[in-house]
């Protein structure tokens, strides 16, 4: 089957904040309006709306339904929701456009990450019979993975500190970022462990945030933006949920997803990797074969602003913006989900 050409044609993000007193709907609405204004389309021109969020984060069953208030559902619209990061909603929207039913889709995601103990909430994603009752803590699971990687010599603490130092430095150029810093890797290595072998800067900063992107097909995309970010490959792979049954020192799902998305076909200028822990960026780079010629996370990445369920779609937005700006020709956007990089979604986009 011939695939349709589909591109990201616009993005909008809300600057990160903590302990937001707005509702999710009040946070989303202005961002969606800003995006529609930026792309220059009316709500009536959106053929499909797709939303990513997590009810566990608000503690309210079906809380995602209220987000429909933020997009306006009269006259009736076609919409869907994934209980996951907005990047997976983007994947659904991409499939929807591939069916030929619609030409334009708006994808949005939100996470009020600081309204609950996100470390506990995310660990409820684990196997409910054998793992979740142990209440392992999401950071602790990542620390186990980091320990395994260090022991195996796959990563070093210095490399991890270098990832953090670079991300905090790059964050100065990103209005969305929350954590910024000018420390050297040596400075960071001198900091105490918070969850040995992780230090505070090895873990992403949980923030409240939301974002939205517009996808469009073919000539519609060309009409809406001068240089669309064409999706040339997109693939989602999952490692087993049994934590003891998979390798902690590599990410085979990320490797397969990258291969299927065609990452190695040509040079990647910019890669926006969704790595909430420093060692995970190193694992992802290994898995996807990203070398020195690729600029990793010029936005500062999820490490400096991690609105859970929106941080993955933020990577797509950042990568697409570098195509719009002409600063990159071929980019990679990635989203992970679940403990220890369990799920990986990889997308390659190109400018024309």
């Amino acid at each position: 089957m011939a695939l349709r050409d589909i591109a990201i044609v616009g993005t909008a993000q809300r600057p990160s904040e903590m302990n937001s007193t707005f509702t999710s709907v009040e946070i989303l609405l202005p961002v969606i309006q800003q995006l529609l204004d930026k792309v220059g389309i009316e709500r009536s021109e959106i053929g499909f709306w797709c939303h990513g969020s997590c009810d566990y984060m608000s503690g309210q069953p079906f809380s995602f339904v209220s987000a429909v208030d933020a997009i306006g559902a009269w006259p009736p619209i076609i919409e869907s929701h994934v209980e996951a990061d907005g990047a997976f909603a983007l994947y659904e929207a991409w499939v929807k456009i591939q069916t030929g039913e619609v030409d334009v889709a708006l994808v949005f995601s939100n996470g009020k990450t600081t309204s609950g103990p996100i470390d506990q909430i995310l660990s409820l994603q684990t196997d409910p019979y054998m793992v979740a009752p142990l209440k392992p803590g999401f950071d602790a699971l990542a620390a186990l993975q980091a320990r395994a990687c260090l022991e195996a010599g796959v990563v070093t603490e210095r490399q991890m500190a270098e990832v953090a130092a670079r991300s905090r430095r790059d964050a100065h150029n990103n209005a969305i970022a929350f954590t910024k810093g000018n420390e050297s890797a040596d400075d960071l290595l001198a900091m105490p462990y918070t969850l040995n072998p992780l230090r505070a800067h090895d873990c992403a900063t949980p923030v409240d945030g939301c974002n939205a992107v517009v996808l469009a097909a073919g000539d519609v995309a060309r009409r809406l933006v001068e240089r669309p970010a064409w999706i040339r490959g997109i693939d989602h792979r999952i490692d087993t949920q049994r934590l003891g049954a998979r390798s902690m020192i590599e990410s085979s799902s990320a490797a397969i997803a990258a291969q299927k998305a065609g990452v190695a076909k040509d040079r990647i200028d910019v890669a926006e990797l969704h790595a909430p822990y420093t060692h995970q960026e190193l694992l992802l780079r290994n898995a996807m074969g990203l070398g020195e010629s690729t600029h990793i996370n010029p936005s500062g990445g999820a490490l400096v602003a991690n609105p859970a369920m929106a941080a993955g779609l933020a990577r797509f937005a950042e990568a697409a913006e570098s195509i719009f700006a002409g600063s990159a020709d071929r980019v990679l956007a990635h989203c992970t989900s679940g403990p220890m990089l369990q799920q990986n979604l990889v997308c390659v986009m190109e400018g024309e």
Binding site: T23, E26, L29, Q33, Y56, G59, S115, K135
Partner: protein, 165 residues
């Protein structure tokens, strides 16, 4: 864990504490209830008055709701059901009436309890008024109202003259 019938059962309670924020729009609504007032919000685009102001936006226009509008306290029953079925935690004597009430000046109805009349006398269009609990029991909640009761005024014909669309 019990193995009385040969099955292993595990009880695994999970509790998570949230800092829930009502948001600025619902806050004026909740603060109003603490002062014995019904405060709704008006959509700046279609002018509909929302009580309660939902998530602070007009879902029809996708606009942030604007000014506070005091509505009620009297209202009209737009639909109702008579509850005859007992259930766990039942606090009210059966049968009782749960009704949708359109407060005067509002464009969406809210649900509340109808008391101080026979269930079979409740009807669409019936005028009702709130009976508030003692002030010492008030909080930021519609539960400040014990129930609504008939006012005895003539019924209001629902439809043409209603602001709702």
């Amino acid at each position: 864990m019990s193995e009385a019938d040969g099955l292993v059962r595990l009880r695994q309670p999970i509790g998570v504490t949230y800092n829930w924020s009502a948001g600025p729009n619902a806050t004026s609504h909740l603060a109003g209830l603490m002062n014995g007032k019904f405060v709704g919000k008006r959509c700046p685009s279609c002018a509909l008055v929302y009580f309660p102001p939902r998530n602070g936006v007009c879902p029809k226009c996708a606009k942030i709701l604007a000014g506070d509008v005091e509505v009620g306290p009297k209202g009209t029953i737009t639909t109702f059901c008579i509850v005859n079925v007992p259930f766990l935690g039942q606090k009210i004597k059966l049968p009782y009436v749960a009704a949708q009430i359109l407060l005067d000046g509002a464009d969406i109805s809210m649900q509340h309890l109808i008391q101080e009349c026979e269930a079979e006398d409740v009807r669409i269009g019936m005028r009702v008024e709130p009976v508030w609990k003692d002030k010492s029991e008030w909080g930021p909640s519609l539960e400040n109202i014990q129930h609504f009761r008939p006012t005895g005024e003539p019924d209001r014909v629902m439809g043409a003259e209603s602001g709702a669309s």
